[in-house]
């Protein structure tokens, strides 16, 4: 009886039922699309964060650069500029200056690294150096009236180099890398002049296993090519940390025994905040960053997409869903109002209010389920559309050193030098429809149907049979 009555009633109110179901479908489809897009953006952010962090890293510790230390202009080149101005270097002199510079961060000592590693809940702590190799070549131009612009006379080439602990690859810059040619580092390479090349950089510069490459004025042999997951922004080359410490300079100061990034792994996700707090106390001037901090620093279209999905998308879904729910409730109540005589008759026949409410709720639920199914289909369609049409997203992470002017060197040159330190990552946005999104849709459909049914049923239950039948007359 229940199913027959339900089926016939829905058939009678087909247009209204379709209208309600479509409203719910639209809301649910939007929820699925937005949820999927948000998942896609989260995945994109995770890809970006993994590339910056490396797999297994919970926290990173860095030191802000000292005032004026991170100009990005080689110390040697600065000295030569001074010598040109003082007349010690004559016009026409060829300059070829190559330094491995610490431009991005301040330095951390081995003692600080050891202290960080010794904190409670820290299972691993690895130091690394993120560096920029800067080569300035050119011929000193003639100076007129003691001033002039050098930038047009010099060529600057830069590439990024990470000094990595060969004994502990994870956590660290190489933790998510895979060797595609040659071999990776082993303990014997700790002080060797050997390097790994990123596959992208190797392809662009025709580097293969056995190639030689000059880093900080020293020739290194490429022993392997590594690749990191899509969306990553790896350094161009990796060298053993000990060698990097020998060659790197911060301004004019050597970096022997120092690192500029510490990668930390905590024993559990729940202890990350505690470790972060302890490290902040231990190293008050350092920046201790976890994934959420880093995510907040991500700018570019990934950030915009995240903001769009989380704000506009979420509220749009809520608004459409609320409108759909409201519509379903109003139309269900209107339908009940039109069926007063019917329900009054059923009560006269001995139908309990509960049975009538169940009938109304059953009808609403059926509409909700149909709407939910249509909504899932719409959601899949929306997600597929995003997959097809979404442009590549870019993520810019971490502030680049500010363009500077040093003794007549314009900002253009400084910008050219500093650009190598910027982290711009490109990722493809996908909108995966997850099981949880489907479950959410089913729940929302059931909730929409139930809500409409509850209001409609409540109205039906309140009908006094005598009053309902009197209305007929």
């Amino acid at each position: 009886m229940f199913w027959t009555y339900l089926r016939r009633e829905l058939r009678r109110r087909m247009r209204q039922a379709v209208f309600i179901a479509l409203g719910l479908a639209l809301g649910i489809g939007l929820v699925i699309t937005v949820t999927s897009a948000a998942t896609g953006v989260q995945n994109a952010q995770a890809t970006v964060l993994h590339s910056l962090y490396g797999v297994g890293t919970d926290l990173t510790v860095t030191q802000p650069p000292k005032q004026g230390a991170g100009s990005g202009i080689s110390f040697g080149f600065k000295q030569q500029i001074k010598q040109v101005r003082s007349g010690q270097i004559a016009a026409g002199t060829k300059i070829n200056d190559n330094e491995l510079q610490n431009t991005q961060y301040g330095s951390l000592t081995a003692a600080q690294l050891a202290a960080a590693a010794g904190q409670e809940h820290v299972t691993a702590a690895t130091g690394a150096l993120s560096l920029t190799d800067i080569t300035v070549t050119g011929t000193v131009p003639p100076l007129s009236a003691g001033s002039g612009t050098f930038s047009s006379s010099f060529t600057t080439s830069t590439f990024t180099v990470d000094g990595v602990d060969v004994a502990h690859s994870s956590p660290g810059p190489l933790s998510s890398a895979a060797v595609t040619a040659g071999r990776g580092f082993d303990q014997a390479d700790a002080t060797g002049d050997v390097a790994l090349a990123d596959s992208g950089y190797a392809a662009a510069h025709k580097l293969t296993t056995g190639s030689a490459v000059a880093i900080g004025g020293t020739n290194f042999k490429v022993i392997g090519v590594v690749t990191v997951p899509q969306g990553s922004s790896p350094p161009n080359l990796y060298i053993p940390l000990a060698k990097a410490q020998q060659l790197a300079v911060t301004g004019s100061a050597k970096m022997t025994g120092q690192v500029n990034t510490v990668y930390i792994t905590a024993d559990s996700a729940s202890n990350i905040p505690a470790v972060q707090e302890e490290l902040t106390k231990l190293l008050p001037s350092a920046t201790v960053t976890d994934a959420s901090d880093l995510a907040s620093q991500v700018t570019g279209s990934v950030g915009s997409a995240a903001s769009l999905a989380n704000n506009l998308g979420k509220w749009l879904s809520v608004a459409v869903l609320a409108a759909a729910f409201g519509l379903a409730i109003l139309l269900t109540m209107a339908a009940v109002a039109r069926r007063v005589r019917e329900f009054g008759t059923l009560k006269a026949l001995g139908w309990r209010s509960r049975r009538i409410v169940g009938q109304v709720m059953g009808e609403s639920l059926a509409i909700g389920i149909v709407g939910g199914a249509a909504g899932v289909a719409l959601g899949y369609g929306g997600a597929a559309l995003i997959d097809k049409l979404a442009p590549k997203l870019s993520a810019n992470v971490g502030a680049s050193p500010a363009p500077t002017t040093v003794s007549g060197v314009t900002g253009k040159l400084a910008q050219q030098i500093s650009s190598a330190a910027a982290h711009t990552v490109y990722v493809t946005l996908t909108a995966p429809v997850t099981l949880s999104a489907i479950l959410l849709a089913v729940l929302l459909a059931v909730a929409g149907g139930l809500l409409a049914g509850i209001f409609g049923g409540w109205r039906a239950a309140r009908l006094r049979p005598a009053a309902a039948l009197t209305k007929v007359e």
Binding site: M1, T4, Y5, R8, E9, R11, R12, R341, E342, G344, T345, L346, K347, A348, L349, G350, W351, R352, S353, R355, R464, P465, A466, L469, T470, V472, E473
Partner: protein
């Protein structure tokens, strides 16, 4: 047996007095016709007798049970088991077929699938609609719809049949058909039957006729073997 004592029904906090001190004894198996002008309380009386509403004062007893004091659930049970209703405008569910409409009266009794269908079909056959079981109400004439409604009222084999203007929407030929049908089921099943009607032809078939005027009930005999004015009842106006 029905026993109504001092039944008063007020609406709008006493502003409207629909029934005033109705006293009535109705033995099992008796057919009472209730006549009277529109708006004088006939339908209200029927609703109170059917447990669809409660009197403001007085008691409506059916087989010793005061319908006005029963809980909603208990009153619903009494309606489901013991009272059949027939309405002027048939009140069939428009989306359900004739047999499904009849089945709605068995659903609250917990009669299951095939048995319910069998009994409903038999009830329709009893009102000469065996060939219309699959038809929707809109596909039936007024007389046929009322016969479906009568089958729905009788399928649960109630002790009481309450009919509110059962011929009010029918033409003369159909009216005679429905009156004949009601009379035959009354005789065959020994029903207690109360029929509210404007129709003197219907009233003439009843054992007793009561007249409602201004919420008061006066009973007059229409059949020589049963009726007599109840002592103390008002004469029809």
């Amino acid at each position: 047996m029905y026993r109504l004592s001092g039944v008063t029904k007020e609406y709008a906090h006493g502003a409207v007095l629909a029934l005033q001190g109705i006293d009535l004894d109705l033995p099992d198996g008796e057919w009472l016709a209730v006549r009277g002008p529109t708006g004088h309380g006939k339908s209200t009386l029927l609703q109170l007798m059917g447990g669809l509403d409660r009197p403001t004062r007085g008691t409506v007893e059916l087989d010793g049970s005061d319908l006005g004091r029963l809980s909603e659930a208990a009153a619903t049970r009494v309606r489901a088991r013991s009272i059949g209703f027939v309405f002027q405008s048939f009140n069939l569910i428009p989306t359900l077929s004739a047999v499904e409409n009849v089945e709605t009266a068995l659903a609250p009794l917990g009669v299951r699938g095939a048995e319910r269908r069998r009994r409903a079909a038999a009830a329709l056959a009893a009102v000469r609609l065996a060939d219309r079981v699959r038809h929707l109400p809109a596909e039936l004439s007024g007389g046929q719809q009322q016969r479906v409604a009568i089958a729905r009222a009788l399928v649960k084999e109630p002790a009481v049949l309450l009919a509110d203007e059962p011929t009010g929407n029918l033409d003369e030929d159909t009216r005679d058909d429905i009156i004949g049908l009601l009379e035959s089921v009354w005789r065959e099943r020994h029903l207690t039957m109360v029929v509210v009607t404007h129709d003197s032809a219907v009233a003439r078939r009843a054992q007793r006729t009561a007249v409602m005027r201004d919420g008061r009930l006066a009973i007059v005999p229409t059949s020589p073997d049963v009726g007599a004015l109840r002592p103390g009842a008002d004469a029809p106006g």
